[in-house]
Symmetry: D2
Subunit: 358 residues, 4 copies
């Protein structure tokens, strides 16, 4: 299953070390003026080699749009695109042909399919997330036209956490540092921690937080298309993610119901709003007009710069020497991916919602 | 969207105070001997009025199977079923016709659809989850034939938490107490807390943990059908759920990669396994043969036994008097729902997996 | 697969001799005032026993709506419904437990599923089409509000054919005779033929033609959701259908391109139309505002009132004695089914089309 | 909607005059050895410029596979591919920017999407069918491994028709002539007719027949996934198709039921078969082990080499001068497309069928 979405859909393809990765964006509404530089900009935010806290592997990740645009506008026809792979050191992976790296997908892919492209993790590599970023960049430009904005940021690396609500942060600072944390002091701490971990040949996890603003009330589809469920699905499809929560999340279970009600208010314009937002902008699976905010947990990835003893497909013990170039912490690069997946989900829900009434 | 699943699908219908709720189970493989008493037993675990910690509302929730079974066996044809609604106090809800209860779906449904069935929350009521339990009970009987078992339990109520891993618990004790916590001492504490909260006319949240055992390696579908993502989607579609995590989850972000690797082992039989399971049984979206375990956070529900001031659809302030009969803590009744949704997801993935190889 | 549609969907269940048949209509837009008598009226047009040209089997086919309506309006929530089975002579079917009737689905169901409910054909019986008629009746009421009408009629029975285009017929006469042919003279001929065939214990086929009027230009979805393809799919899902054509159809292959162009015209109001309609109202898979018309071929059904020699599941020859009560010609009762399936397809396409532009 | 299929799916993209066309094949089972020359061979059968009876436009239509293969084997991962467009005479299409050609999709696309890529018909051009041929060639190689073969041929051009059943033809002769008719005498007549029509700047329609052999009994999915319905859907999604029939088709409506029964037989090996095949290999939507055969009607396409008067988007009359290079009869080139679509449908049904029983 390499397709996500119902009306606005994305179908991706491609392995880490094949000729190219790419995909098809379908259901993109016609009449959206597309700024291709913005699309490339999102890819650049995700690409490897952009800073010292990410992998040193360098790829230009240049997207080529093959269809669905005419004179800069979407036509309603599917948008096919590719990103050529480059800078492939396939020889780095020779020893992985038969070995199963612990906590990777080598064993599970082999068990499921009977064979696998072992080079760089093949399809299980996070490389394919670059194609999602392209699809998300298209969705985002449609959403921006409707006044919907999406902003993700690094809120935790290891035990270093930005305690505040997103409301107390200046999200315009997210891109001001390589970890993409809008709290500059915490960002420095996080950066130091990542560099330490990197020096040890180790990795560290973290949390990406995300806020969706400007979405009108009434979007989302009960009961099996709830916004919360669809966002969870999309986020948990990102490599290395292990948890999702929105609104009060796990922390809310300790509260009393009377403490976490979101009272309705009536503005001077007669518009109904809420004076608290423990619900995270979603009630009954449908947006209530308040900000939607959620958090995604990313584990420390399993690709270490350390020698590892494991087993191969014959059941023999093998020693894997540390090689390749890897991310000590994937969280900073996950930020644009979280935004992209959110945009894909939200645009789909917005379009679907047009069928809610006669 | 009232359908979940790809091959094994469930489509539900019904409101809290309509004539009946029900659904269609499609893609159920032929040749499964169905024990209808087990199906009813699952419904009984979910039904209201079963203990002092749940709502006092009483409904027998008797399922009537209308198709798809012949002489006790599934035929491969769709299984239609209904559960008649009864014990409806629609007059309890008169004041809700125009009022929007805070942190409920009244406002969002009205905004989306332009009208709503306000009685008892209509479609947004958790009543519909009874139909999921029926679908799950069918899936479960198919899975049991394959050696797959699913066990959920209450692991937290308010701040009272079962600290141990599921491995250190005796899950056969789950049904021995009304909160469905396999740790009898903690269960008592939880029960006391719920009774306290109930006495205050308040509510409290909690966490349901779940373990899936016996699933062979190789099940699950990258990249948009990852087991973790599909479980997240299914769990976050349950009323009042606010968070999902599997394996090390949110807690794992503080670890180093070197601490959380799951080393492969080779058994005497030559079978590959893992000696640790931080991954939660899923790698690259595919099962690795180890137990799958996850946690779902449920908020304290918003239906309090307290008078509440809110607004109505005209923007006027209204006072809602406490009435009806409601759950002070939905977590104990969520346990069979979590199991049902897990069974639906896993059976679908197992069936889908049969197409993985030529 | 018992679901059809993408946004407006119908999921059916039920066998000929189970407790009930029924289904779930999902994606029905909110705010449609539903006349339940019209729904029942469509069922009455399909039900057995309505005239001498149909089976003598009598069933009241009363639909019970279980959800999704509130005070006579659709709420946007799924509409569950059932039709209880009655007048079942299961004992009529004892000899069919092991025998495979020629040109029926007995053998194929058994081969696929390993077992089958043999009573009355089980799920393969055309009885399930009653549930489609209910779904179609809902879709139709939504379409009527948009000015879209659908009219089917019997255009051929055996070799007796209504030669004229639908434009030369008075479709208000369709219901004036039991064969549902708007040409009264031909209707009489057809009726005589059916009675003759019936007297022989035999059956005869025919063609249902259908016209969809009032659909605006721009509806339909290239390339795998073309209106023509979706109508074909829906019509070929009806029991006993063997062919589908729209516009010029098979007859058009003998023409030259220059003979069958549909010239565009500009009305006094500046509106673009066509002065011929060989395309059948669909160009590039999308409606062009002209009438959509198509034809569906129904074979003579295989249930004869004659003794038949065939084989059973053990490979033994068996003699099946003529019994039961069957239709000598299914075409008159197929007319409301064709209309229902057309309504289901068109409403779905109309709703989907709302996502075509930003 | 640019995706077809449920488990084995194809998602296409691309316009006539964009950078490239292409697509993603998903759900391809792992472990199929792929002969890429066979894939290219299928494309060559479809490509323009291959003979005097097709368009003189020349394109090499070289497919580039970008993913999903490893060392010549399918890996279970999605297969992305592109075919670069070349030999584009965009200037040929300047006059079509605002004009609506009669019986083309210019008007309907513009009405639906508000704008269109007018060059060469954009997405509505049959050029996109090349991508389906690639997907079909992959499906075919999987099916061949299972003993399933698919053979289509031209059975009618204009009024010249191959009267015989496919059983009386030597289908190995199909590729021996440019019209792809296995009856050499008729092929010559057809070729002459096409050359005549071409000389007139006109076009002519025809029929493609297709036979699927070797498919075991039990494949296909009632009630909304019937093989006949899915084939109809797939065939009616091909440009210029106007009709579909299988088995006895439209001609069968004139028969009596007693004349068209397909008697079951028991072979010496105890295997059940049929001694006649009016059903066309499908009963109750499921294969019965006999050959599946069907026919697809193609209209004479609307692109003439004649000047045409029509209207533009402003409602003004315009004269379109004959230009470009077009097919006088698309039927010969439709043969490989019909085969490809059949392969896509059948492989999907075969894979889906694996979930039929526990």
């Amino acid at each position: 299953m390499n397709t996500i979405g119902k009306i606005f859909t994305f179908t991706g393809f491609g392995e880490s070390h094949g000729a190219a990765i790419g995909g098809v964006i379908d259901g993109m509404p016609a009449g959206v003026k597309i700024d291709l530089e913005k699309v490339q900009h999102e890819l650049d935010r995700r690409k490897p080699g952009q800073s010292a806290v990410t992998t040193a592997r360098k790829e230009s990740d240049t997207v080529e749009i093959l269809s669905g645009l005419y004179e800069g506008m979407t036509t309603g026809c599917p948008i096919g695109f590719i990103i050529r792979n480059e800078n492939q050191h396939s020889q780095d992976y020779g020893q992985l042909r038969e070995a199963f790296r612990p906590s990777h997908a080598d064993y599970t892919y082999t068990t499921k399919y009977g064979l696998r492209d072992h080079r760089g993790g093949g399809r299980s590599s996070a490389r394919e997330t670059a194609t999602r970023v392209v699809a998300g960049a298209f969705a985002r430009q449609a959403l921006e036209q409707m006044g919907v904005t999406i902003a993700a940021y690094t809120s935790q690396v290891g035990e270093i956490s930005v305690g505040e609500s997103y409301k107390d942060l200046d999200l315009s600072l997210t891109e001001s540092n390589p970890v993409r944390c809008p709290d500059p002091a915490k960002a420095e701490e996080m950066e130091r921690l990542i560099m330490e971990v990197k020096a040890d040949g180790d990795t560290i996890g973290g949390v990406v937080s995300c806020v969706i603003s400007g979405l009108p009330a009434g979007v989302g589809d009960p009961v099996f298309g709830r916004l919360g469920a669809r966002l969870a699905d999309a986020m948990m499809s990102i490599n290395a993610s292990k948890g999702f929560e929105y609104g009060m999340g796990f922390a809310g279970v300790g509260s009393r119901g009377s403490e976490i009600l979101d009272p309705f208010t009536v503005g001077e314009d007669g518009k109904i709003g809420v004076s608290a937002n423990n619900s995270g902008g979603i009630q009954g699976g449908i947006s209530n007009g308040a900000d939607i905010y959620f958090r995604v947990a990313f584990k420390p990835v399993a690709t270490l710069m350390q020698d590892i003893t494991t087993v191969d497909c014959h059941g023999n013990e093998v020693l894997l020497k540390a090689r390749g170039r890897h991310d000590p912490c994937v969280v900073p690069r996950a930020v644009p991916i979280v935004e992209a997946m959110a945009a894909i989900v939200i645009l789909d829900a917005v379009l679907l919602n047009r069928a809610a009434r006669i």
